[in-house]
């Protein structure tokens, strides 16, 4: 490993590790302040929520493929208020849709990408013993957990869970059943969790990086998490404010989002009126647009690490990639109303948002292109993490490119709120981000457990997943271009024009169920390898970054025997004159 050597026994660490052993089971594994334990807690909780959110969608996919037919096997279990005779009611479909989106975004991806991978890997990659604020870190996890429980409990509220889309637009969300109020409370917990986490990540990155680790020696993953943390810090509070306002509307009878003269089911609403539904949309999308970059940036970070490591060469264009990250983060705050082109916006503001949206595609393209060029001349190892990372590239490419017509307001007119939009964002998040998450799990599993996951099961997971992801989402582009609206409980069965696109629903549904089956090898692998996977060396992938080169696998409490010292950049692979094809960051002299 490194040339830094220990001449005296590690003073603080061993003593502290001994103290750490004295802690009870609860303090070591449940209420731990160790970033690694917290990271694992986040990751496992998030993976469970991802599978649950996926299950909700699989139910919806039955209704979409076979509208108004009873759901086999479990239809009878859903209860008469949701699925009388096993046939899904439209209100239940809406519940599933709203909660699928909420759970996947806020309880699945962000906690896994940021809470899970960010927490576990970031301190290790910067050579830190832990986060700057370990107790705050623990609090962040428990706020997330509380938010998750709240969201799950909302299914038991009278009238059902939130059912006005994950976007909770007013005035519909104002008059929706009690589950919407519970959703708001859940969001407040989740936002608090993210804010506390963001403060921790930014402070830790600035303050606890190792000696010699300047900003432009950071692994790209660290930069990605750093920018993401700023997005969370500054974009979430307006949604928290909006949530409070919607709560006031629902519970205190205010009219922040209720216009005057609103009539519901033939009755005028007894409120003061004077509010503005678009206010909700502005405040929501002010968060939700940066939120999509929160979903993708950590993924790009993971893909960058895996690609550099498995091509045995430095990333091409590291500096432009970093500047692109920063520019992207900044621009993400000024594009949000491209989600609102159809709200009666005038040409001046439409032109403004359209322009900023086109500009923001540039840094995305720089990052993707740099990752692709990084493959050129590489000595590529096609292991499972690399397969997922490679697949990310064209999948994110499709997702990103198909966003362009949505960002231009003229072409958005026929495409807005159709299945085209669903296809666009799922390509970015599903075979995009989620594939990157899988790459991260396979890549860092040996660091967390000291054992490798099975390559055979990994490939059995990858190939069908890749196939089924495309089977689910590719047809949706064409359905959307043909005019099929999203959020229809019968999948468009009652539209006169739709027969030729309706059969696409069946393709997507079979794809979804196939994708579910394709996850079985992953689940088996994940649990089996814990005890039966092949033990690996500390630097299992012969990587250059500190989490691999300076810490054992798994790392002990405190991470490093001695604080590492950094002498070089993050991707010094295949350095001319070196005997090894990798020169770790903490290695002083090339050997």
């Amino acid at each position: 490993m490194g040339t830094t050597h220990v001449t005296s026994p590690p003073h603080g660490h061993a003593a502290h590790a001994a103290h750490h052993e004295d802690l009870s089971f609860w303090r070591r594994y449940v209420f731990s302040t160790d970033h690694k334990v917290i990271g694992i807690q986040y990751a496992i909780t998030a993976l469970l929520f991802l599978f649950f959110g996926f299950t909700l969608m699989m139910l919806m996919r039955w209704q979409l493929a076979f509208p108004n037919q009873p759901i086999p096997l479990i239809g009878g279990l859903l209860g008469a208020s949701r699925a009388p005779g096993g046939t899904m009611l439209p209100t239940f479909y809406n519940e599933l849709g709203a909660m699928h989106g909420t759970i996947m975004v806020f309880l699945g991806i962000v906690p896994l990408a940021v809470g899970g991978f960010g927490n576990f890997v970031l301190p290790l990659q910067i050579g830190a013993p832990d986060m700057s604020f370990p107790r705050l870190n623990m609090a962040s996890y428990w706020f997330f957990f509380l938010g998750g429980v709240t969201m799950l409990l909302s299914f038991f509220a009278p009238g059902g869970a939130a059912q006005s889309g994950w976007t909770s637009y007013s005035p519909l969300a104002n008059i929706a059943p009690t589950g919407q109020t519970v959703w708001i409370l859940g969001m407040i917990f989740l936002i608090t969790s993210s804010l506390l986490g963001a403060i921790n990540f930014i402070t830790t990155t600035i303050q606890l990086r190792a000696k010699g680790l300047t900003f432009f020696r950071f692994p790209f993953f660290v930069w990605a998490q750093f920018v993401t943390a700023f997005l969370l810090l500054l974009a979430f509070p307006p949604l928290e404010a909006a949530a409070v306002l919607q709560l006031m509307d629902r519970v205190a009878g205010t009219s922040f989002f209720l216009p005057s003269g609103l009539v519901v089911s033939g009755q005028a609403l007894a409120v003061s009126g004077g509010g503005n539904p678009l206010l909700w949309q502005h405040l929501f999308w002010f968060l939700a647009h940066p939120e999509v970059y929160v979903l993708i940036l950590p993924a790009m970070g993971i893909v960058a690490e895996v690609i550099a490591n498995n091509t045995r060469k430095p990333l091409w264009g590291y500096r432009p990639m970093v500047y692109s990250l920063i520019f992207l983060g900044f621009m993400s705050f000024v594009v949000w109303a491209h989600h609102m082109f159809m709200t009666g916006m005038g040409t001046t503001m439409a032109a403004f948002f359209q322009t900023t949206t086109m500009i923001i595609s540039i840094p995305s393209v720089v990052i993707l292109t740099s990752l692709i060029i990084s493959l050129w001349g590489g000595s590529i190892r096609f292991n499972t993490p690399m397969l997922f990372a490679l697949a990310f590239l064209p999948m994110f490419g499709i997702g990103g490119l198909t966003g362009l017509p949505l960002g231009l307001n003229i072409t958005d007119i026929p495409l807005h709120d159709t299945y085209y939009v669903i296809a666009h964002f799922h390509y970015v998040v599903a075979p995009g981000t989620i594939f990157a998450m899988f790459a991260g799990v396979y890549y860092w599993y040996p660091k967390v457990t000291g054992r490798a996951m099975s390559e055979r099961l990994g490939k059995l997971h990858f190939w069908p997943s890749f196939l089924f992801m495309n089977l689910i989402f590719m047809p949706m582009f064409f359905a959307g271009m043909a005019g099929l609206s999203r959020r229809l409980a019968d999948g468009g069965a009652s539209y006169l024009f739709s027969p030729e696109v309706l059969h696409y629903n069946k393709l997507s549904s079979f794809g979804a169920w196939g994708l579910a089956l394709a996850q079985i090898p992953f689940i088996v692998n994940f649990f089996w390898s814990r005890k039966h996977g092949k033990p690996t060396e500390a630097n299992a992938w012969h990587a250059t970054t500190l989490e691999w080169s300076a810490a054992p696998s798994p790392p002990p409490h405190g991470n490093f025997a001695e604080p590492p010292v950094v002498y070089r950049g993050p991707y010094e692979y295949s350095v001319p004159g070196a005997t090894k094809d990798y020169t770790p960051q903490n290695q002083g002299v090339v050997s």
Binding site: G12, H16, P129, D130, M131, S132, F133, P134, L195, A198, I199, N200, I202, T203, T204, I206, Q207, L208, L233, L234, A235, F236, P237, P238, E240, A241, A242, V244, L245, M248, A252, G253, T254, S255, F256, V271, S272, G274, G275, N276, L278, L279, H282, L283, F286, H557, G558
Partner: protein, 196 residues
Amino acid sequence: MEIPYTVEPRPDTGLTSGKIGIWLFLASEVMLFGALFATYILLRVGAVEWPHGAHYLNIPLATLNTIFLISSSVTMVMAWYSLKTDAFGKFRLYLGATILFGFAFLVVKYFEYSAKFHHGYYPKTNTFLAIYFTMTGLHMLHVIGGMAVNAYLWGPGSKLWKTDKEHFANRVENSGLFWHFVDLVWIFLFPVLYLL
């Protein structure tokens, strides 16, 4: 374990982690209140008619509250200054005064709110009152939060002064930053809600 730079600043940044942390938190609070100010602007611009603050609100009382908060800000910074000059007794006096000014603010707010309710003015009455109650209510929660932290630092938390003076002074400074921010928000809230 000892997390570095909790008490002593990191040499190249010149900052302690707690100071960075509190400023980042304040940045998020700027965006939180920003959303509410944006709400105020959008609702007022879109309103058919918008009442003068004086129609519903008591300007002399709010001016008094402004004076209370500004005074509490200066006593807060003097509390920190006292610690830096090793005058623990003065620290207690100044921080105590800060907490009392905060309490006075809350008392005035109690009278303001109960007068409104007495007249039948509630958040649901119209959007002006809705945004008034929401903004001042959220601000008030922040006043209470700040007072709670200050009370802790005045009371049980002050034990840290005996063992680690610099650490304690940093905590007081960071709490002060939060308290000044609460004052800053009111400096904008007062004219916007009451005078325009």
